[in-house]
Symmetry: D3
Subunit: 319 residues, 6 copies
C-alpha cells in the first residue's frame, strides 16, 4: 500500500500512441504522422487560426477511436497491421516562429523530403489548405504524380492580395509543378474563392472536376475508373470536402458533401491502383466541433489510409 | 501613415451584402429578400421566440457562404447571375410592435403585394410557420397557384386555442384560399400537431402528401413528375423538413428527413416547370445551431432559388 | 381572477406522459418503459457515467416528439395505438446504491421477470451496454430467442480486468445462455474493444455479423431476409450503432453508421416476423448531445417499436 | 423488491418547497411568495425578456440554499421561523396573455390586494423593474409608506416613447402616489436612463439619494439612521443594485455596488423600524448567471426578509 | 533543421511541476501535496462527484499561477523558498476502486501517516469535505491539535442516512477524537446541513464559531488573538467558506463570505503561532468554475501555506 | 406603410458611439480613443492572442454602459461633459500586418504623437501590456512624466528570449526613458514574470511599489499623498490589477486585487494633481469574460477618466 495511483497522469499524446521520433535524420519507419499547424496568412489575424489547433485535437481524439493495435477494425477488415511488421511513428509538428517569417514552409518541405528519403509515407495533419504547397514541392523527385483532392472548393487562386501560397491556392501551385501530372478534384460544390477565371484556368489545365452531386450519382467505383491505374498518387483532403454532418468543424461548411464511406472507399481504391506518396487532411477547426466528431473522423480516415497501405502491400514493396 | 485601419467596422448586414431598399413604393428589383420575425403566438411566451432571430442569423451567416457575385457556384453551375442583368435587394424586416397586436400580418401582406407589384420574386426568411399566411393572402390576384411545402409536419390545424393564424395552421389556411389550386406536402414524417381529423381534412381536400420515406424511395425526378407543369408555384420550406444532420437548429428535429440535394433538385425542378411566385424558409431556431450550419444551409438554399430563377429565365420574362 | 397561473409547474416526467406504475407486482400493461441507469463499472470513475443520465434525458426529450396519443405519426402510418386498447406505462428506474455493490443487476433481472410475467413488452432505456445482461437472464424461460443487435461494436469480450458483466461483454454473455439461439450483429464498423480473439469467438459461435457498409449495400429488405421468420426476438440498440449525424451523443461516435430509416424499417421487419420479447436502447451520453437530437431520436425509435408492435397485433395476442 | 425507485421524479417547484396556494381568495398565510414575469415592454422584442425567467430560476435555485425549515441559518441567527407558528406559501405567477395587452398589471395589483387583505407579507420575484408599479398601487390603503430602493439606477423617467409603466419609471410613478410618503434610493451609481431632468425631478420631490460610494463610506448603521423609525416600509431591490460580483446576472451590471452584507443588514434594520408591507426583487437575468449565484443570492435575501420579519415579531402582530 | 518541435507535448502535471514521488515509503520531503478525489457517498450518484475532479483541476491551474521557483511572490514577500533548501513533492492521488468499498479512506489514512512519519507537511486537495476524516485519524499521535476550519457550514452531523463519514460530518468526527483539543469554525454563514441539534452539539463541545459577519467586523488580527499560541494546528478549508466572488466553483455558494486576504492573513498567523501539521482544501467543483479562478485561488492559497511555513522556519525545525 | 423597419441594422461601433475620425492629420478633439490590438509576441502562437479582441469587445460593451451623453453619471457626479464643449472621438485601431513585422509599434508611436500634437488626451485600449511601450516613446517631448501603473505584476523584465518589447517589459522600458521621472506600481501581488533580479532592478531604480494589501490597508487618499502633485502623469491599467471579481477576463487572474472604487478614486486624484497625458487599459481577454463585465468595467473606467478630465478643467487648459 505504499504506492498511490497517479490518476491524472497524461503522457505525451502522439497519434494513437505511436512512438515519437524527433530526429528526422535517423527516421526509420513506414508511416510518419506529421503536424503542420501554420499556413501562410492573408492577414495578421490569420497567423494563428483555429486550424492551427488541429494537429493537437486530432492526436487527442485518436485516443477515443482505438484501444490498441490488436483491435479488429471492421472498416478495414482486420487489425491495422494485419500481422505485418509495420512501423508507424509520430514526428511532431513543424514549428513556426514569432518573427512571423514563413520559414515554416521551408522546414515543412525539408521534413517531407527526409520522410520520403527514409522511405516512409507522410500523413500530414494541417493547418489550413496552404500547408500542402511545401509538401508538393518536396515530392519533385517522385513524379509523375496524380494529385487527388477531396474538397468543397477549387483552391485555384493565383494569389490573394499578392500572397501566393495561402489556403486558396494549393491546387494552382500544384498545377505549375512539372512533377504533378494530373489533378482530380472531387466533391466540389457551392461557392469558394473561385471566380470564373479560376474555373477556366482549371479547365484549361485539364483538371478533372467531379462535383459532390456527380460523385453521388455515379458512385465511387465509377469515379475510381476515371483515375488512371498504375501511377503514383498524392491525396489531399480538405475537411470541408466531407459533409458537415460528418465533419462539422470547418470554417466553410457546405451541405451536400462527400460521405465517410465514399472517402474510405476512394482511399482503398487509390492504394489498389499504385503507390500513394503522401496524404494530408487539412482545415479542421476544432473550436467548432461537437463531441470531437470531426477530429475522430479524421483519425478514422488516417487509420483507413494506413490499413489500405498495409493491405496494398505498399510497405512490403519498400521494406 | 496618417490613417488607422478600423478593424472592427461592421456595416449593415443585408443578405449577401445585397443593397438595402427601405422604400417598397420605389422598389425596382428582380428578387426581394424580406425578413418576417414575428408570427401569431399561442401564448405570451411565444411572442418572441427563437425563430424571431432567424432573419438576422441567416443574413449574418450569408457572409460565410459567398465571397461575392463573381464566384462560381458548383451547386448552381456558374456564377449566381450567369452574366445576366439581375437585381437582388434586401428590404429589411416587417416590424412588430410592443402593443402586441398582430398588425405585422397586415404589414407583411402589404409588403408582399408591393414586391409582387414591382414584378419581383419575394424570398422570405421567417419567423415561425405562421408567417406565410399573410404571404399567401397577398398572392390572391396571381392564382391558380400550386403550393409546394417541404416540412416534417402537416400544419393543417384549423386553430389552436382559438388562434387561427399560428404556426400549426398555414396549410389549412392556404387550402381555404380560392387562388391556391393544389397542395404538395413533401418530407412529412413523425408526429406534429396533426390529429386524425387533420389528416382526414388534408385528404378530403386532395392534398398530395409524400412522406420523407416515399421521397427517398422514388427519387426527386419521379416526385417532380407528380407535380403538374406549366403552373405558378409557391414554395414554403420549414427547416425541420430537412434532416437534422443538415438543419439541426429547429424546435422539432425529426430524424429521417429530406437532404440538401433533394431540396435543391426540387427547387431547380419547380423553376423548370413554370413561374415561382414566392419562396419562404421558416422555423430556424438559431440558438440551437452548431457552427451556423442551419443558417448557412438556408443561405445556400436561397442562392439556389436565385440561381435556378436566373437559369429558368424567370427574370427575363419579367424585365 | 382569484387564481394565478402556475407557469413553472412541472409534473413527474414519464416517457411521453404515460402513467407511472411503481408496484411491479400489480402491473397490468402491454408495454413497460423502464430505466436502468447503472451498469457494472470497470473503474470507480465509471460508477456514474454520462449514460446514467440517459433515462431522464430521453423521458424529458419525449415531450418534444409527441403532443399526445391522438397525433398521427407518418413514420408509423397512423396514431400510435391505431384505435386499439393498448396500455403503456412507465415503471421508473432500477435503483443503485451508495455501497457500490452491483445489486442493481439482480433488481433489474427481477423487474424484467415481473414485466414479462405480466405479459408486457419491456422497453429499457440504459445506462451503458452492460445493462442488457440481466435482461437476457430474465428471459431464460422464453427461448429460443434470436438476439438482434444494432451497434458499431462487437461487445464480445469475456472480461475486462476480471469484470465480466461490463459494457464490453453483453453479446459474449448472451452467447453463453442456452435460451439465446442465434445472434445478428448489425452495423458493425471501425474499432471497439474486440481483438482478433473476440472476432474469432464470435465467428466460432456462428454470430451473423453484417457491417454498416454491407447493410448499406444490400438494403434492409435483404438483411431482414437473412433473419429467420417465426421466432422470438430481442432487440438491443447501442446508440453508437446509428450514425453520429443521427445520434451524436455517444462515447464512441463512429462515422459511416446506420440511418434512422434503416433502424425503423428493421424494427417493423422484426415485428412482422414474430414476437419481440424486449427492446433496449443504451449508451446515450446526454452531455454530448446537441439540441437533444440523440434523445429525441431514441424516443422516436421507441415510438416506432410501440407502433410496430400494435400493427403486428402483438398486444392482441397477449390480451 | 417489487417497487422501483423513480429517480427522475420532479415535483412542482415552489420557493423552498413551501406549499402552493392557487386560490388567493382563500389565502391564509403570513408570507406569500409571488412571481411576476411580465413588465410593460418598450418594444415587441422586450415582451418576453430574460427577466421573465427569473421567478422560475429563483424557485429552482432555492433548493440549493436550504435543506429544510429545521436548519440553522447563521445569517439570521437561528432557524427560519425560530419556533414560531409562521406560514409561508407560494402563490405562483401572475399570468400574461398572447394578446399582448398588459392586463397582467391589473391582475398583479388584484393579487397584491388579496395578499394584503389576508394579512400576508407579499414577496415578489420579477420580472423587470416595471412590475412594482401595480404593487405600489395595490398598497394605496396602507399609507403613508416609505419606499426604500436598492438599485444602481434612479428609474425616474416619466415615460419612454410614451410608455409610462416600463422598467425605467417605477420610482417616478411611486412619487406620484399619495400614499408614498418618502423615498430612499440606495446604491445609486454609474449611468442609467436618468438625464439631468430626472435627477432634478427626484431632487425636487425630495428623494433621498445615497450613492453606492456614500453607503460604503458612512456604513449601514448610519444609513439606517437617516430613515425615520416607526413607519411602514416597502423595499424594492433591483438585482443590479448589488455588486456584479454578488449578482452577475443582470442586464446592466455596474461595478462598485452594494454588498450582500449591506443588503441583509438594511433588511434587518427596516424590520426593526416598523412594519414592512412588501418586498420585491427584480431584474434578474438568469441566462447571464454563473453557477446560479444570482438566483441563490436572491433566495438568501428572501430568507433574510422572512427571518427578520419573524424576529421583528411582525407576524405576531398580525396573527 | 532535422528536429521538429513537438508543440503539444504535455508532461505529467504535478502541482507547480514539483517532482512526483510515487513511493511513500521512500519519501523525503518537507511538503507533500496529495490528492484525495473520493469521499464517502450518501447515494450512488455521489460516488463520483464534481469534486472528484478537483485535484486534477488545481494541478492544471497551478501552471497559470507561477512561472517557476525563482519568481518573487508579493503576497508572500519573496520567492517561495526564500533561498532555503526546501523540498516539495507531489505524491499523486489516493486511488478509489470500482467495487465501491470505501477502502480509499484506509489508504488515505495510511498515506498521511507515511507523510507525517517522513516529517513532511501534507497539503491535501479534495474531494468533498468527507476526506479530512481519515486525515484527522492519521494525526492521532500528534495531539493535542487545534483544528481550524474555514467554511460556510458547520459540518457537525452525526450521520446522514446512517453514513457517518460523509461530507456533512467531518467536524463532528474530529470532535470525537481525543487528540483534537479545540475547534475554531470561521466564516460560518447561511444554512447548511446543521439543525438546531447540531448547533447545540457544537456549542456543548465548546466549538468556537465565528461567523463571516463577525470576522469581517473584528478583523483577522483580533480573530487570531482568540486562537491560543504555541500549539499544533490543522487547517481545513472548504472552498465555499470563501466568498463566491473569489471561489465561485462550489456546490453551495453562499454570499457574504471570507476574502482571499483574510484567508492568507489567517494562514500566516497560524504558522506564526506554532507548528501546522496539515492543511486541506476541499469542495472545489471545477465544472462550475469561470476562467479557472477557483482552482487558481486554491493554488495561491497553497503557495501561501508553503511560503508561510518557510518563513516560520517550520522546515528548519524538522530538517 | 411603405417602409419596413430594418431591425438588424448595425452601424460602425465606436466607443460609446463617439464619432469616428480616420485621418489623424486632421484630428481636432479633446480625447482620442484608440485601439492597439497587437503586441510583440514571444512565440508565433501569441501573434494573435485573446487580448487582440479587446478593443472590439470594449467598444461593443460600451453600448451597455451609457444611453447617451445627456445621462447623469453618479460615479462622476453629473453628465459626462458637465455642459462643457468637449469633443471625444474614436480613431480606430492601429493595424498589424500578415508579414508579422512589428511595424505596428512604429505606427502606434506615430499615432500617439499626432494625437498629442492635436492637443488631445489619448485613451488606448490594448492589446497586451507590450503596447504601452511605443506610447511611452511618443511622449518623449512631454517629460518629466510620472508613470502610474495599476497591475498585479511588476512587468520589469529586460527581455524574454531576447524579445525586449513584449508584455513582461513595459515598466523596464519606461524606466530607461529619460522623460519618465518616477514610477508608481500599485496593486502588485502574487507572482508574475519577476524574479529576484527584476525586483532588485525596480528597487534600484526607485520604483514605488505599493502592493494590493498595502493599498487596502492605507486607503486611496493616503496613497495619493505619496504621489507628488503638480506633475504630468501617465496611467497604465493592466486589467489583472483589478480584482478578478471585477475583471475576471484576464490571462492571469490574481485574487485579492484592486477594487473599482479604488481605481476611480485614484483616477480622480491624478487629474486633481496635474495634467494626465495619456491612459491605457490593457490585458483584457474577452473570451474569458462573463456577461461582458470586464469590458463594461473597462468602459466605466474610461468614462471616469473623461469625466475627471472634464471636471479638472484639463480640456479648458488646452482649448
Amino acid at each position: 500500500m505504499s504506492k498511490l495511483t497517479v490518476t491524472p497522469r497524461t503522457v505525451f499524446q502522439t497519434f494513437l500512441d505511436f512512438p515519437l521520433v524527433e530526429d528526422l535524420d535517423r527516421l526509420s519507419a513506414d508511416v510518419a504522422i506529421i503536424g503542420m499547424p501554420y499556413g501562410t496568412p492573408y492577414t495578421i489575424d490569420e497567423t494563428i487560426n483555429d486550424q492551427t489547433n488541429a494537429p493537437t485535437a486530432v492526436r487527442r481524439a485518436s485516443q477515443r477511436i482505438s484501444l490498441g493495435l490488436d483491435r479488429y477494425d471492421f472498416d478495414i477488415g482486420g487489425t491495422l497491421f494485419e500481422g505485418q511488421d509495420v512501423k508507424v511513428v509520430d514526428v511532431g509538428d513543424v514549428p513556426g516562429q514569432a518573427s512571423g517569417s514563413t520559414g515554416h514552409y521551408a522546414r515543412a518541405e525539408a521534413a517531407i523530403r527526409k520522410i520520403r528519403a527514409a522511405g516512409a509515407l507522410p500523413i500530414t495533419i494541417g493547418g489550413d489548405h496552404g500547408i500542402p504547397i511545401p509538401i508538393f514541392r518536396a515530392l519533385d523527385g517522385e513524379g509523375p504524380i496524380t494529385l487527388v483532392q477531396i474538397d468543397a472548393h477549387l483552391d485555384w487562386r493565383d494569389n490573394v492580395n499578392g500572397v501566393k501560397e495561402g489556403y486558396s491556392s494549393p491546387i494552382r501551385r500544384a498545377s505549375e509543378m512539372a512533377h504533378i501530372e494530373a489533378i482530380f478534384q472531387l466533391g466540389i460544390r457551392g461557392q469558394g474563392s473561385a471566380r470564373m477565371e479560376e474555373v477556366e484556368a482549371a479547365r484549361a489545365y485539364g483538371s478533372n472536376i467531379i462535383t459532390a452531386g456527380q460523385w453521388q450519382e455515379i458512385g465511387t467505383a465509377a469515379l475510381l475508373e476515371r483515375i488512371p491505374d498504375g501511377g503514383r498518387y498524392y491525396l489531399t483532403i480538405d475537411a470541408d470536402g466531407l459533409d458537415p454532418a460528418v465533419m462539422p468543424a470547418v470554417e466553410g461548411p457546405s451541405p451536400g458533401g462527400v460521405t465517410y464511406r465514399q472517402t474510405i472507399d476512394l482511399i482503398k481504391g487509390l492504394f489498389a491502383k499504385g503507390e500513394v506518396v503522401g496524404v494530408d487532411i487539412v482545415e479542421i477547426a476544432p473550436a467548432r466541433d461537437i463531441n470531437e466528431i470531426t477530429s475522430m473522423t479524421a483519425g478514422n480516415i488516417i487509420l483507413n489510409v494506413i490499413g489500405a497501405a498495409v493491405r496494398a502491400g505498399q510497405f512490403k514493396r519498400q521494406n
